[in-house]
Subunit: 199 residues, 2 copies
């Protein structure tokens, strides 16, 4: 691509590597960036680098956060006796947006997927079990996706926790089968929470 | 969005400001960036900033380039007697990809669009006329888009150049009416070039 500036070619290549950004989108974005205000470009670049450098896992629930503990785990008003288990931070955000869940979370960062070689040891399950050791937690709500992997993970976790004697529930099937939590409207998410059943 | 890390929230905001990136895509990209290799993120950020800082207009043809002159204007093998006039650098790239055009270019950076208040003075037309002053140029090929604005611009340029006594041609209507040059396959682009007619 000698007909482009080397800088633009490099930028297009870097942008194409991002998920969901094809060659055309990368080109469109690159030309937009070149025409943007210089300070704005610097801010975008800084936002990327500092997010990558400063974001870490909450020590308690393993969501992505700025500090040792996330705002939810730090909060004094959240109900520490209920843990909602989700696959990732986006799913946590989806339930937080409903504004009605007052418990805390546990982020697995994935789901058990034998086909992809992802076993129980590859997600934050050990860390969840460690959190159940004292008597604080009374209920674990499993809010993994209702996909094959999500259901497998839910079954696995329920079998693991049952012997400990803690109540385990699964969000109701208000969530459409095969859907991702983050794409679902808040009303459906709430209905699924209200209709949760013991498993 | 206190449930996200501040860094992630800021990154999502910055990404959402880019064209064609909605709230969901911005979120997806932000989480991807946070999970990317640190060096890779730094490279992407650097690519943005250095493209914005170092890219400038070629002194001759006004395409976006790294240097005072673009590789095409600098080249000793390109035919300096033929200038192809395009609306923007992406259109130049579209013709370069065919690998069959050996002349040089002139990038207008826009088209005349009275409805949007863009007149002949707002695109690089004066600069094109200046390039025609010596006797080097024998033909000007107008390859603006075949949209209303592109056709208007083509007619305007042809009327401007005719009195100078230089041959003015327009790429053939192999290009579908209403289409953008950058989206068209190379065969059609070549057919349009071969079938160009004097206007």
């Amino acid at each position: 691509m000698e007909y482009y500036s080397n800088y633009i070619t490099k930028l297009i290549e870097s942008l194409s590597a991002l998920p969901g950004i094809g060659a055309k989108s990368a080109q469109r974005l690159a030309f937009h960036i070149v025409n943007m205000d210089g300070q704005q470009v610097q801010r975008l670049a800084d936002a990327m680098v500092s997010a990558r450098e400063n974001v870490r896992y909450c020590k308690e629930c393993f969501t992505l956060t700025d500090d040792d503990l996330c705002p939810i785990c730090k909060s004094l008003v959240r109900d520490k006796s209920t843990i909602m288990v989700v696959e990732n931070t986006k799913d946590l955000a989806a339930y937080e947006k409903t504004g009605k869940y007052s418990g805390i979370y546990h982020v697995l960062h994935g789901a058990i997927a034998p086909m992809l070689g992802i076993g129980p040891g590859d997600i934050r399950l050990k860390e969840l079990m460690a959190r159940l050791r004292d008597d604080t937690v009374k209920e674990v709500i499993i809010a993994t996706n209702s996909s094959l992997e999500g259901e497998t993970t839910a079954m696995y976790i329920s079998k693991l926790i049952k012997p400990v004697g803690i109540k385990v529930t699964r969000i109701a099937s208000g969530v459409p089968v095969g859907g991702d939590l983050e794409c679902i409207d808040e009303v459906t998410l709430l209905r699924a929470l209200e209709g949760r059943i013991e498993i």
